[in-house]
Amino acid sequence: MEVLGALAILFAFCLSIYAFLGSIVGAVRQRPYLQKSAQRAVLGVFVLVTTASAILVYFLLTSDFRLAYVVARSNRAMPPLYKLAAWWGGQEGSLLLWSWLLSCYSAVVVLTNRKKHPGMMPWVVAVLQFTQIFFLILNVFVEPPFHVLAVGKGVQAVQDGQGLNPLLQYWMMAIHPPMLYLGYVGFIVPFAFAMGSLITKQPGDAWIHTTRRWSLITWGFQTTGIILGAGWAYAVLGWGGYWGWDPVENASLLPWITATAFLHSVMMQEKKGMMKVWNMVLISTTFFLCIFGTFLTRSGFVSSVHAFAESSIGTWFLGFLSIGIAATVFVILNRMDYLKSETKLESVLSRESSFLFNNLLLLASAFAVLWGTVFPRISEMVTGEKITVGAPFFNKVNVPIGLCLLLLTGVGPLIAWRRSSWESLKRAFRWPALAMAITIVALLAGGMRHFYALMSLGLCAFVATTIVMEFWKGARAIAVRTGRNLALSAVELTHRNTRRYGGYLVHMGIVLMFVGFTGAAFNQDTTQEVKVGDRITIGHYALQVLEITDGSNDNYAWQRATVAATKDGAPIGELLPERRVYVASQQPTSIVAIRRRMNEDLYLNFAGMSETAAGHAIIQVYVNPLVSCIWFGFWVVFFGTLICLVPSKVKLAYARTEMVGVYEKQATSAK
């Protein structure tokens, strides 16, 4: 069967070369049958890669230890979910996952666009298949997953595997890679359409309309993947945080930032016919950053706390990136004439300008993150000395950028297109500004002196007020006319223009997440060596270690501390931080205990037994205010994204100069 799997990838490789060449020749020579046949080949590639993946999964689930891959990533004692997760637990498998997802997306694109975009499709297929060929090369020649161990002639068959890295044996981590990959891989579709439309000199924004849903869904997957990663780091790594600006994390964040910029700036193109070149550049950057992210995590290009698989695939990635980027730059430059802007910027106080600055800030942030991530390599090349920068650098740049973006989140949607007067701004932002001022004064009175935290919470109040007001104004207008209550009217309002009000919900989720990030300014922690009966106090909390127990099962041996907690003297129950040593890998890991509340998390990590004092356990305690807002905010973002995907009930056929931002106008435009 492993031969079948290997053959399936090999055939898929050949077939995708055919699809690539077939599409191009079919397009250039105007041969519809050849184009059709290339599209069928795409489906064939999907079937073949699916077969190979299914075989690998089957081997993992049945613990077939003839395969090197299964030995290295799985063992008998692991529950089925983690056996499945072992598919993306290693280099070979995750590259196969990439290929498979790409083949799925390509198949969906071909199936849903059978009768659409006849001129553009061959080029879309060509771009998709060019990438597919690249990943299949990796699957077939560089990192083959179906490597069988030699048995016989004195070499024994392997009885059990080494198991999945224990840190990965956690539900969030089991689904984090596929989510992130769905996001990574997905951006190839808008990119392919963008290229297709450029190459065939399509007038208009057909590629944007066609791929709007794709971009949103993909963005949603990326967001989910990143948050899952953060949630995993928080719940498993035991250092009390969720984001450390590690190269892996940055790799996942980079395309997300540019994708966010893209989602915003396409609105400029749709509504005003501006920023056409810019959108092309953004979507290409996003796609290549996705590839670059995969390259960073898979090649060992920068050293990280997580030592990556160091292998030769880096050269392949660099090759692919240089060919891809060169081709893209050539196409964009060559078609510059078709990307002329239809209108010009008129005023600094306008919706256009807010989009412009939104993009500028997002791009600056992406650049800073990229710069910091590859800094060791750059400094090594330039000065010969390897220098690394840490979290302070990233925070110093990104915190102010984040706050400015937060401000724009509130200002942007309310400011008028073309130009706005100070008068109308004053009217529109009177209440939000008041809310911000009240929040800041209240917090100052409450004793808060942290500048960024004050600004952040104040801006959160500002943005939240603008969003609530938008909903309230629109809903009230409907309520007055139809006689329905406000809640129903708000639903109706959202349904009428899902894009706008779904977008507001996403913004609201982002506000909540910012509240959560701000909490980090007030984190407290302590580490103590305690024996049974000892007490630890931190903030409002007092903790007492009641007992330390141990035990084992097939997969791991554990040691658990039972800690009774009180808050301001009132008992709030027991927490059970645990420490496990996995049998297969002999690697210890911590299972932290977290008491999650909306306002504050109490986070306990059992770091191990002391080596100097017998019977003393090392317990780390963190008090992390507002962390739960991040996870809650994510669900709001997720929900808002789903709403954006629902088709609007009313097709708003506004001219390209919609006026928003003035009270009266808003009430009418919401109707």
């Binding site: 090197a68 161990l149 048995v151 600056a364 911590s590 080596e611």
Partner: protein, 146 residues
Amino acid sequence: MKKYWRFGALIAIILGILGWLAASGINESKTYYKTISELKTLPSSEAGRRVRVTGNVLPGSIQRSGTAVKFVICEKEHNQLLDVIYTGKDPLPDTFRDNAQAMADGKMQPDGTFHANSIAAKCPSKYEAAPGGKAPKPLNSRPSAT
């Protein structure tokens, strides 16, 4: 043209502030990668720099006294040893143990010891099995597996 001047000025101000923040962020947190042999021959002008040094933990050298942890890391190629004293508040990572590859951030002291305020033991990745072979390798494992 006046409005373009305004845009230009605003953009320049924003980028200027960000550039300044970035530069100061780099200066604040930059850390030099050095090998143990390079550390031993560090010119005095560079003595105050924050340095990141990597080496394998000498088996049996880990000693704990109170909150401080002392250990020795060695560089395989040159047989160089370096005494490290860790005084950070975070407990050492799970992967830190004999023979593990440890990455210490800190400063060289005049007495030839290295004061580290953070230690990362090269955690064998999110994805790959440990280097140095924590798990007994199967007899016939592919040599290039990790």
